[in-house]
């Protein structure tokens, strides 16, 4: 239960960090908050030859609003985003999701970028960031690029980031007026990985009809899964119990969650359906 040996680098700038990642190639791994990577090292499930520790790259830890968008430096700690007045005011879905991420001790150290780059389909932040249509900005010595959530999350523990690329910022656009949100999940104990869940944003237009909605499922597939059919079922409609039930049913129609000792696939599918129904009702309230 001790990490294997590795070459350790602790750069002070983004330029230095991406140069090191380019140098290390496939053998290097970026270390953010360490709340997932260090357990993997302790178990020796990960044995990178080199670690590029980002904790001394001060220019990665910002958080703020610019031109109406929320800009989150990749090394912003989860606890800071959770308690941020700016995020609370404009993007309360993030705080709702973060309150469900592990425990305060983990969120004090865990980072927003680290959680995104880890790409665990049972994690709350990737689901919330997908619901908020976030952009993921990556940098390497070859240049910069920005990816949508759909392009960024590739599969279980895998993103579109190349070995030499560093996630530097997550940018969240402003939500339209009259947009509600909700994050619902079910776990056996507070702070455990959830068996299933859903994040919803819901915008009301004329006559309280839904003008836009996003439904993203947690634990339904190998990535945060947008339930586009469920979203379509809501658009142009006025919310009521019947509609929420119908949208939830459609949202999970094609999913096939994996079963394990904590719950069968069929159980999880029905659980996620219930989470969508509740989240849709709350977001539209």
């Amino acid at each position: 239960m001790k990490p294997p040996p590795f070459d350790y680098h602790d750069p002070r700038s983004i330029d230095e960090a991406v140069a090191l990642l380019a140098e290390c190639g496939d053998e290097g791994k970026a270390l953010a908050g360490g709340q997932s990577l260090v357990p993997l090292l302790n178990f020796r499930l990960a044995q990178p030859a080199a670690l590029v520790d980002l904790n001394r790259v001060a220019e990665l830890s910002y958080l703020g609003r610019r031109d109406g968008r929320l800009q989150i430096g990749a090394m912003c700690r989860q606890a800071r985003l959770e308690l941020s007045p700016v995020a609370k005011e404009g993007w309360p879905l993030l705080g709702a999701a973060l309150a469900l991420v592990a425990h305060p001790q983990i969120r004090n150290r865990g980072t927003v970028g680290g959680s995104a780059a880890h790409s665990d389909p049972a994690a709350e932040l990737p689901v919330a960031l997908t619901a908020l249509d976030a952009r993921f900005k990556a940098r390497s010595v070859r240049g910069d690029r920005a990816l949508s959530a759909d392009d960024f999350f590739v599969t279980h523990l895998t993103t579109a980031l190349e070995p030499d690329e560093l996630l530097v910022e997550i940018e969240v656009p402003a939500l339209p007026e009259r947009t509600g949100h909700a994050f619902h999940e079910y776990s056996r104990r507070h702070g455990d990985f959830a068996l299933g869940g859903a994040a919803v944003t819901y915008t009301k237009g004329d006559g309280d009809r839904c003008s836009a909605a996003r439904i993203v499922l947690l634990g339904a597939a190998d990535v945060p899964l947008r339930a586009r059919d469920g979203e379509q079922a809501l658009e142009g409609q006025v919310m009521n119990e019947e509609l929420a039930r119908e949208a939830a049913k459609v949202a999970v129609r094609d999913i096939e969650p994996t079963g394990d000792i904590h719950g069968s696939g069929d159980y999880r599918k029905r659980l996620i359906e219930a989470m969508v129904r509740r989240a849709v009702l709350e977001a539209a309230a």
């Binding site: 040996p5 260090v38 357990p39 520790d53 305060p104 001790q105 702070g191």
Partner: protein, 163 residues
Amino acid sequence: MNPRRVTIEINGETYEREIEPRLLLSDFIRHEAGLTGTHVGCEHGVCGACTVQLDGEPVRSCLMLAVQAEGHSLRTVEDLAAEDGTLHPLQQAFHECHGLQCGFCTPGFLMSIEPLLAEGRDYDDREIRQALAGNLCRCTGYQNIVKATALAAERMSSRAQAE
């Protein structure tokens, strides 16, 4: 893999050592600094026994490398009681409420809860249970830990009001 020379501050004392970068902070605290009050349970961030305060915030010391602690201020359970051995109000409350049995998990609980009490207000059961959720105890069933926390919070908030 090359060893590094680090200077790490724990409870106001500085420890200068040559260590491998892979050395966990929990092992630095116990084996290099000799502060064995911090206990190591699961070594993968689940049990919370190794919780210490990094710049005042509770973190898992088994999920940090010791080299990462350089330039920060660490606090461990040894710093809670006064120099003359007078227990911290939280330790006293654990003692009175029977909030520990074998005591293995206790340092982690204390270091997780203590920053909350510094706010000097009362907490309801739900808030306390959420704050404790990241620490596992296999003996007590938690009831008395919740009671002890509530008692300590009550004493510290009435003390804060009196001041």
